[in-house]
């Protein structure tokens, strides 16, 4: 078994043991494997808050990541039999770059409350209230940071329509806009359905 494969097996084993330990501690020892994504989501939500507020916790998480994230072996020798294969891979790089692009963080979103695509109004600005209902606060924060400033300003407009008396965010600052939207959808301000465009 190659080094890469044995590392992968070790990580999988560690992951399995850690998940089992967590589920037992929470009293969910009989969870199905299909439910584990919900455990991961709950952990991510709580963990994100803790990383922001607790530097010691953040340090622990970073230490584990530094340990397990594979590093590139730049000086590993290539055998001559692989030379043609590597050359072909280089030749295909341009093709690949024209085709598949790296995954966005948005590809990892998991809807807490999936919706029928037909209820989305694609002709109007993205509705942050709807997205909050679908994805929850943590995932919405991730999504908002991936949106362009143009889209975020449109979403600010949706919030301001709901709550015209709110203090305006700094529309040149992404963090300010994201914070403004998150506070609005988390019901720190009132949602007025009749104010919808």
């Amino acid at each position: 078994m190659s080094t890469a494969t044995s590392n992968q097996s070790a990580i999988q084993e560690r992951s399995g043991q850690a998940t089992k330990k967590l589920c037992q501690a929470l009293g969910y020892s009989s969870l199905k494997s299909t439910d584990l994504k919900y455990v991961a989501l709950a952990l991510a939500e709580v963990g994100a808050e803790e990383v922001i507020n607790n530097p010691h916790f953040a340090q622990k998480v970073k230490a584990i990541l530094d340990e397990i994230v594979p590093k590139k072996e730049l000086n590993a020798p290539r055998s001559t039999s692989n030379r043609a294969k590597h050359q072909k891979q280089k030749d295909n790089t341009a093709t690949i770059q024209k085709g598949r692009q790296k995954k966005s963080l948005l590809d990892n979103l998991v809807p807490l409350k999936p919706i029928d695509m037909r209820i989305i109004n694609p002709y109007s600005s993205p509705d942050p209230y709807l997205l909050h209902e679908v994805f929850g606060s943590v995932q919405l924060a991730i999504a908002l940071r991936e949106f362009t400033m143009h889209t975020l300003r449109e979403m600010v407009g949706v919030v301001e329509t709901q709550n015209p008396d709110l203090p305006k965010p700094n529309k040149r600052n992404k963090d300010s806009i994201v914070q403004f939207i998150l506070e609005a959808v988390e019901n720190k301000h009132t949602y007025n359905p009749s104010a919808q465009i």
Binding site: T95, L109, R118, I120, E146, F147, H150
Partner: protein, 435 residues
């Protein structure tokens, strides 16, 4: 006849989101009225005879136009899941005055039937048993289909295809790789995607059958290289005109024997029944397809690695047949609102046809086409990824670049778009092998 139950908010809500759990909350008499409501939606007219005990059934259903033509008698049992309907109930129905002669007799329950009940029903070919799961599928199918009540020929959506006598497990008995290229919106690149995927599969040694279900016949024209096919060979509409079998329509396209097509022509439009629900005919096509291409005795038994079906930009009869037949969907989209709308409509149609055959095709993902790496596209992309994720789907990582050479035969396979389709094939195979 019962008064019109349409506009009943409780029933409207239950129709929009049918669950057995909610139906069991209805009082028995209310549930009978809900069943009547559903049969109205399916195009029938009805008569509530529950209090006329001499009829032996709860509801009688009639042809929507020819009011004297009885379509069946329905006995309704609103039971909890652990209370199975037994043979005595079936026997009593068989003898009911309302279903004398050849009048179909339906027994609808929210629970299920025990084996003696099913065996009893099998002794009489006019008895149709519909259990809770089948009842939900019937409702789902009706909500996505149109009864033919609106045309003078009259018509309704029969529940027969949802009864015990239809073994849906054997309708699509084989694990196959049949992909629909679908989107209700036109101009998104469906035909182009079908064509290029076939070539991309061919490059990896796979044999593909293309089926052109679009009366516009763009795919057929491009593949066969003729603006009007003057070969005299049959097209897909000839199958629906019942002059040829499916296997007689298959034509080899390339000399290497990797790409085949069942072509269409504008004549195909003449047989389109639109979104009218024709469950028995739809099932018959699915059975015919699987007999031809996947059964041991089929002419093209397991000959093709992939079947790719191009569909028209409408929820037509052909889109419905394609969705009923397939296992997977690729939805080409442009990053425009109308494309998203079209995708949503197509997904809904897939759900309707899944209710008919027992399993809806899985949406592999949206495929962004006409991709231009400009500000507007990059502005829209995160939203569309998010919208697809919100509906438990995704956009494929590969985007097909805007390429003016894409439709020109001479240098098609040298185009940058083709390089992208090679990557799409990899994404498709990763998805399919993971499922």
């Amino acid at each position: 006849m019962l008064t019109n139950l349409q506009g009943n908010p409780l029933f409207d809500s239950l129709y929009a989101n049918p669950t057995l759990h909610e139906m069991l909350k209805l009082a028995p008499r209310s549930f009978e009225k809900f069943v009547t409501y559903i049969f109205h939606k399916a195009g029938f007219t009805t008569s509530d005879v529950a209090l006329r005990f001499i009829r032996g059934v709860d509801i009688e259903i009639y042809h929507p136009i020819i009011s004297r033509q009885k379509s069946g008698g329905i006995e309704i049992k609103r039971y909890n899941p652990d209370h199975l309907v037994g043979a005595p109930t079936v026997q009593k129905l068989m003898g009911a005055p309302a279903v004398r002669g050849n009048t179909p007799a339906y027994l609808i329950t929210t629970s299920n039937f025990n084996n003696p009940a099913i065996q009893m029903a099998n002794t009489n070919n006019k008895v149709r048993l519909i259990n809770g799961e089948q009842w939900l599928r019937y409702i789902e199918y009706i909500s996505g289909s149109v009864p033919k009540q609106t045309v003078k020929q009259g018509g309704f959506i029969s529940p027969d295809a949802f009864s015990h006598s239809f073994d849906i497990k054997n309708i699509k008995p084989f694990q196959t790789k049949v992909i629909v290229i679908g989107n209700n919106k036109g101009g998104v690149g469906k035909s182009t995607t079908a064509e290029y995927l076939a070539h991309a599969f061919a490059q990896s040694g796979k044999r593909t059958l293309l089926i052109d279900f679009d009366p516009q016949a763009n795919l057929s024209d491009r593949i066969l290289g003729l603006s009007t096919d003057v070969s005299g060979l049959p097209h897909l509409e000839d199958y629906f005109f019942k002059t040829v079998n499916l296997d007689q329509l298959v034509r080899q396209v390339d000399p290497n024997g990797k790409i085949y097509i069942i072509p269409s022509s504008p004549e195909l439009g003449k047989v389109d029944a639109g979104s009218f629900g024709q469950p028995l005919q739809e099932i018959e096509f699915v059975r015919d397809f699987y007999r031809t291409f996947y059964s041991a005795s089929g002419v093209y038994s397991n000959f093709f690695d992939w079947v790719i079906i191009d569909t028209p930009p409408a929820i037509s009869m052909f889109t419905r047949l394609a969705l009923a037949t397939s296992n997977f969907i690729i939805a080409p989209i442009r990053l425009r609102p109308s494309s998203l709308r079209g995708t949503g409509n197509m997904i809904n149609a897939a759900r309707t046809m899944g209710a008919l055959v027992g399993e809806a095709p899985k949406l592999i993902g949206g495929l962004v086409t006409h991709w231009n790496d400009d500000a507007a596209s990059n502005d829209n992309l995160p939203q569309y990824i998010t919208y697809f994720r919100a509906s438990q789907s995704k956009l494929l990582s590969t985007k097909i670049p805007l390429d003016v050479t894409i439709e020109k035969a001479a240098n098609r396979l040298a185009s940058k778009a083709f390089a992208a389709y090679i990557e799409v094939v990899k994404e498709i195979e990763e998805y399919v092998n993971g499922n």
